[in-house]
Symmetry: C2
DNA sequence: AATAAAACTGTTATCGGTAACATTTATGTA
DNA sequence: TACATAAATGTTACCGATAACAGTTTTATT
């Protein structure tokens, strides 16, 4: 690999001039700049980022902290990582995946944190490197997320347009911000239509949705649609209805939230609020790098979700 | 952060002695070693890996190249990454996730490659850094994988023990090595029982399994078990049977392969050949690091799969 | 006790860059 | 023309570690 020195020699200038051409090009005459550019090209010069990191006292590492239990986690984290990695690679940063346990091993230049709980607020606020959260929070930490409220709000609207007369919300039984937002979107849409909201909450497991349906099947009238807070729950609801002999989408509608993987393998495919996780991951990375290089960059980035059409709502 | 120099001063020795205590402790007297250890502890010294990397001309980065299209990929890659990251973190290496496109951006010390196709052999052989493949191959590249053949062999055996009289193998329609191995395991078990193997192959999508069942339902006798090459296909088969009114596990058995995510969300849960991907990922990382530090380490690492009991086989 | 060999510790140069200061060259003004 | 000032380039020291060599102390041998 060619070094600064090699380029300098070939261009007949000092190392410093080459360094300047790269970092402060306006301080070098065009004449020399040309020489240097040419030498760089001829030698296929690429700066050594390790050396750079040493002088800057940086690591070029960004840690992605997944605070939830990864074993049981939704596959969408994969997409998140791909999105983040894409951006970081572009800027020659690398991504280190850490969990609660190995969180503080090794240094880094910044953090992306997801799956935070209330108790984590303390140590997160104490971090002395830039941080961005993935997933909305109400503690004032900058975050990237889908517009959760708009997602359920619009989905509920669509469901009504398709003629379903009863709407039931199946939520996730957790106190996280995103869940409140999704509920709020549903409630607002329902109330705007002079209906009374009906909500249930379960842990995020498909079989709980399935059980709910089979247990209460005789109380569930046809023409009901279930707006679920996750594809997992939607999948369970769908299966429950199928098992009880209900007809989807004619008599019953089901919608999910996520659109990463499960909605695709269900049958029929689930109509869902699709988050573009890869894109959000990229934005997350971009935002963090801006912070690291102290280009302002603060506040939240909120992505508008799209509705992905499956076969669980009638035309 | 304390540096070598700080430690040296406090211990009243030279930088070099401190460095030796860390890297060649047998060249230093116990007396000095004690002093240095104490100083290191008092100052909470951690070596600066960037500086180390600079002298060693290394990057402390390992690239994970996922050559398949990640968007549509199985969630088990997530587990793979977690496993790899776990090991790498322990050794203070970091993982860079790359795809076909951004493959050669930036330097690294070694590669873990998965999802390789035949056409990739050329450039992979040309890489000048240690490489380990995830997933078996027959080109002589070192790999880590599950014992695919043993997986289906043992699963077929179990199915026979449970009294199913007809075995049907549902494979993945691809020319990859792992698929051949899984087929071979099935065929061997069946032949050992003087039965004639029956195989079908589809692309790895659940709905194709479902279609197959619904189309051929009247030809399928009760007491048949389907040994599938993936949980995805198994899920489709299961759904097809349910839709046609067949009873699982009493009249029909279904088994999968993977055991990472889908087998859990299916209903009933799929009895499947479970690969411990996290563990395999760790081994993959360990192996690569050994290669990087040229501690021999060659050959393949083959993990024995376990059968994970779900509800798709009768007792 | 004198001297060679072995064991230990310190000094210097280096990895590939960059900041701060020093020097040279160009430009403007009286 | 002389001198102050600005602009362009070069020198040196440093980031935090390590290898290679130099110097010192200890131990062994005669």
């Amino acid at each position: 690999m060619a070094t600064l020195m090699d380029v300098a020699k070939r261009a007949n200038v000092s190392k410093m001039t080459v360094s300047r051409v790269i970092n402060h090009p306006d301080m070098v005459t065009n004449e020399l700049k040309q020489l240097v550019y040419q030498a760089m090209q001829e030698l296929d010069y690429h700066p050594n980022l390790i050396a750079k990191a040493l002088v800057n006292n940086s690591t070029r590492i960004v840690k992605l902290c997944i605070l939830e239990d990864i074993d049981t986690t939704e596959p969408y984290y994969m997409n998140l990582m791909v999105g983040i990695a894409k951006t970081l690679d572009l800027h020659q940063y690398s991504l280190q995946l850490v969990t609660r346990r190995n969180f503080d091993i090794g240094n880094c230049d910044g953090y992306i944190i997801t799956g935070m709980r209330k108790g984590d607020l303390d140590w997160i606020k104490k971090l002395d490197k830039p941080v961005i959260m993935f997933g909305e929070n109400r503690y004032g930490l900058d975050y990237v997320d889908t517009n959760n409220k708009a997602g359920t709000y619009r989905m509920a609207k669509l469901v009504l347009e398709r003629g379903y007369k009863h709407l039931v919300y199946i939520g996730i039984d957790s106190k996280e911000s995103f869940e409140y937002s999704r509920e709020a979107g549903f409630i607002q849409q329902v109330q705007e239509n002079q209906m009374i909201p009906e909500l249930y909450r379960f842990e995020n497991h498909s079989h709980l949705g399935e059980e709910f349906i089979t247990k209460h099947w005789d109380e569930i009238e046809p023409n009901t649609a279930f707006i679920c807070a996750s594809d997992r729950l939607a999948m369970g609801i769908e299966r429950g209805i199928a098992r009880c002999g209900g007809s989807i989408p004619n008599d019953y509608g089901v919608t999910g939230f996520d659109g990463v993987f499960l909605s695709q393998v269900a049958s029929p495919k689930i109509t869902t609020v699709k988050q573009s996780i890869i894109e959000m991951g990229s934005a997350c990375g971009e935002n963090l790098l801006d912070k690291i290089n102290s280009k302002s960059a603060q506040g939240n980035l909120i992505f508008e979700p799209k509705i992905s059409m499956g076969g669980t709502l009638r035309k």
